[in-house]
Symmetry: C2
Subunit: 542 residues, 2 copies
């Protein structure tokens, strides 16, 4: 049993991600010559492109905001908090999906918000929303800019201009109730900032999605984020006790924790609203003491179906570990090849599963014993701590690796869904088939890997990673594959997104999720609080 | 360790409750002469009223539905399924709060729905909603009629007539997915019917609120019911995977289990909508195998604060029992006196707590050990199984006892709220004070008891029971006390209802819960799907 995992924090100040890649330059990954050769031989990947434009070369759309409007915004927020310089605009030009980065690497004109606004209080957000509604300026809440579904695209809708809202100045721990385990955080705090603020008081949120290092509390809430420890601490939406939302029609304070029967839960309308119904400025969150202990155990299962059934047994017992995940055969093999650990602790075939257990010593011991007995009885072979700790150590690296693959001439993209346990195999087969066939038909045979990263009593998520060579037009190449996968997900009874949210990219499938009448309900809510329609146009609501 | 608790089911056919009392006549309770004497001496209760009207004497408002409308409804549903007889109308005349029963016992005219409709399918519900919207007839979904907040009052709103919807014909188990643990039940199935249908396949819902024997699946969902085993199986809203709702604008199928990030969770708008936004006709529910084992342990704590802190420690450990509850000093003492168990197993002072643990043998043993260690360390004295099993045995009896007290000239009513752990003592003191002072000022000193019956990581519910002598006008007497308690709850930061819902009685406090803008959002949703406003007028939405 080891000491609790403490994430490595960057400095207190939140870093800004690179304009044309995930994350920060210091963490950039490079592919080994062996991997490059393997990609070339197995998938026909070759990096014979002209080099992408540097920031100095990038052609950025000119701001459409005239000087009078900029001055009026400066009057509201202060001159330092209205940014129209190209560097800032370019860093708020969109999210970090593979298509986003492909567009960023193109030589054409880069779209960008006409200004980036940095409000310093809830009231300033209210004021700027009223101003933008009156002037007809679209507003895109930027969060940490980690969207992989086009959620922070600078779309103008029917308006002539668009501003991005960056809440980085709202990064405080407003209140901590240690008895109840409830912390109130401002929406602009990033994952590491939140953990640092809470950690000073001995608490943790326990929300570690892959976007953790850059994404914000407000963004987690607005997109129904789900972290890698969701089996233990729940999805982010489970953690939200209440939220404060600024809208063009005023302020909403929603959530009557710990539980209430006072009508519909309006909190659940704004959690997941992706900036289309309001700007979340403060969130009350369930937190827990920093765990005293963490136990790790990795497992090997002969195949994915056996492994999935084993995970199901554990979660349905009501005693899930803190983290519980399972890679399929392809992902297990590739991860092994990437880590260069062949001949080490890891299995050379079958499927790798990871479990971790956090809490007090007694709690960890009891849970570990219960889960271990169930997983062994369900056909698992214990592999020890090693592979589980390795997974934890590298768990925020994948987007950097994606960028390295992209630069090497590959497409490496992910998509995810969820369904009931009884439908999991069917959904996995359908989506794999759709991706494989679509990309093969385009002359770029793909490697499709899958893992389960979030388990529930009634079902689980499926997370797919696709790697193939870039075709001549990689944007349309991926668009076709993504369309095939989305259609397959809906046809097979999955949800179009388990934790990536809807944004622009999943919007075509929203009506399949909620129906025509559900769409009408969403529009009615939006009309009631954003009658001008300035809030994140073109996202989420069909 | 005992065998699992299996609720005693009535016959497969759901019984209809008495028109002027809770439940069925066979289960009626009578007070012992000692209790009657005690009530008289301690609270000045005396039963010197004229006897209430019998059913034959009751004066029932005439039906306002003319023959052509009745015939049109008969064409839609079949002649047997449109009831205008007095007996049926009287049995759908409202819920079962103390004010409801006081009105039922009055000699004035009894209000009642103009007809009781028994649709046999979702499509019939759709058709009758369209008909009622076109004809301007208010529609009250009746569920099992167990509301204690005026939720099923035959209110007409701006319409001339009102019908009650009784979904008793929709009582089937539509589908069971044993692998995923998801059952689809029609909304009219009662608690015992649902358990019986599931039990035949080895499954259980595990939802046992005090209304269990008569309330329906649709009603549980529409009111955010919470059962006595909520610590183990969650609130009813936690169990809802998806629901089908019939509205005047069409059908909604909501919920993309097990989890989704596809926007706002519209399911959470209709769960808790209390018939104001649509009629729930089918619900997909998380179920679990009938537990193999149940362990019981009762505890005594020196005082309520110590006991509450102990429960908090257990639930915050992440390992809650299936049931965990704590009575305050007053309730502990009164229950002891009522049970006649003085000198038996139960403690004669302090506070009684109950824990039960359900599941597999290994799960029960592990959880029992973990909780027992925590409760003992937090100052609890273990009392053994006896008092916990006694509680379970009598757990559906309280409403019958309330009726006996009412007939003896007492008011015995309950109300409930919830708040964070750090605010629990303050809320309990405030509400107790408000009730005590209001009733004392009216010349009827009251006994106010309290228990915690639902615990969460961040807080708990408080359930108050009030007993006092009936004043000359008991309806206004209780209305004043209830108003004082509701105002105290909101002022002290509680929710106006933890699991009784809003109905008519809590509606004055709804705007305090969701704010003016939240109210506007609710109205916008209602206007979008019920533009005529026929659905349960006067309830929930201010």
């Amino acid at each position: 049993m080891s000491q609790a995992f403490v994430p490595e924090f960057p400095a207190t100040e939140a870093p800004t991600m690179e304009w044309d890649a995930w994350g920060v330059a210091e963490s950039r990954r490079h592919l080994s010559p062996q991997i490059t050769t393997l990609l070339q031989q197995a998938l026909g990947v070759s990096a014979e492109q002209s080099p992408p434009p540097t920031e100095a070369d990038a052609i950025v759309r000119e701001t459409a905001l005239g000087t009078p409007l900029v001055h009026a915004l400066e009057d509201l927020l202060g001159p330092d908090n209205v940014r129209t310089d190209t560097a800032t605009r370019l860093r708020h030009a969109g999210g970090k999906s593979t298509p986003d980065l492909l567009r960023r690497k193109s030589t054409g004109e880069q779209d960008a918000p006409d200004a980036v606004l940095l409000p310093g209080s809830h009231d300033e957000v209210l004021a700027l929303l009223r101003f933008c509604a009156a002037e007809g300026i679209a507003v895109v809440p930027f969060g940490g800019g980690t969207s992989v579904v086009g959620g922070v695209d600078p779309a103008r809708g029917r308006f002539g201009s668009v501003v991005a809202l960056d809440l980085r100045r709202l990064d405080a721990l407003v209140d901590l109730d240690p008895v109840s385990g409830v912390a109130t955080l401002q929406a602009g705090a990033t994952g590491p900032q939140a953990e640092q603020l809470l950690g000073e008081h001995g608490f943790s949120l326990g929300h570690f999605p892959q976007s953790f290092q850059f994404a914000t509390i407000g963004g987690f809430a607005a997109t129904r984020s789900s972290g890698q420890a969701s089996a233990g601490y729940g999805r982010f939406d489970d953690m939200v006790e209440w939220l404060r939302v600024a809208t063009p029609a005023g302020t909403l304070d929603l959530g009557r924790g710990p539980a209430s029967a006072a009508g519909p839960d309006l909190r659940e309308l704004f959690v997941g609203s992706e900036g289309t119904l309001g700007i979340i400025t403060e969130v009350g969150l369930r937190v827990h003491p920093v765990p005293e202990h963490t136990a790790y155990q990795a497992w090997s299962f002969p195949d994915f179906e056996t492994g999935a059934a084993a995970l199901r047994t554990v979660v349905q017992s009501g005693s899930a570990p803190t983290v519980m995940r399972l890679s399929d055969e392809a992902e297990t093999g590739i991860n092994l090849a990437m880590s260069g650990d062949i001949g080490g602790d890891s299995p050379t075939s079958g499927c790798l599963a990871i479990t971790t257990f956090e809490g007090t010593d007694a709690h960890v011991r009891a849970r570990y014993a219960e889960a271990t007995a169930l997983l062994a009885a369900a056909g698992g072979t214990a592999l020890g701590e090693g592979p589980a700790q390795s997974w934890e150590h590298g768990r925020f690296d994948a987007p950097y690796l994606r960028d390295a693959l992209l630069n090497a001439g590959a497409i490496a993209e992910t998509l995810e869904t969820a369904t009931r346990w009884s439908n999991l195999a069917n959904l996995r087969t359908s989506v794999t088939k759709a991706l494989t066939e679509s990309l093969a038909a385009q002359g770029t045979p793909a490697l499709v890997m899958c893992h389960i990263s979030h388990t529930y009593q009634t079902g689980a998520s499926l997370y797919f990673t696709v790697v193939c060579a870039q075709a001549a037009d990689p944007l349309s190449q991926w668009a076709a594959a993504k369309r095939a996968a989305g259609d397959a997900i809906i046809a097979a009874g999955g949800t179009i997104t388990h934790h990536h949210a809807v944004g622009r990219d999943h919007r075509p499938w929203m009506e399949s999720e909620v129906g025509a009448l559900g769409t009408q309900v969403l529009r009615a809510v939006k009309d009631a609080i954003d009658p001008a329609g300035i809030l994140n146009p073109g996202k989420l609501i069909p």
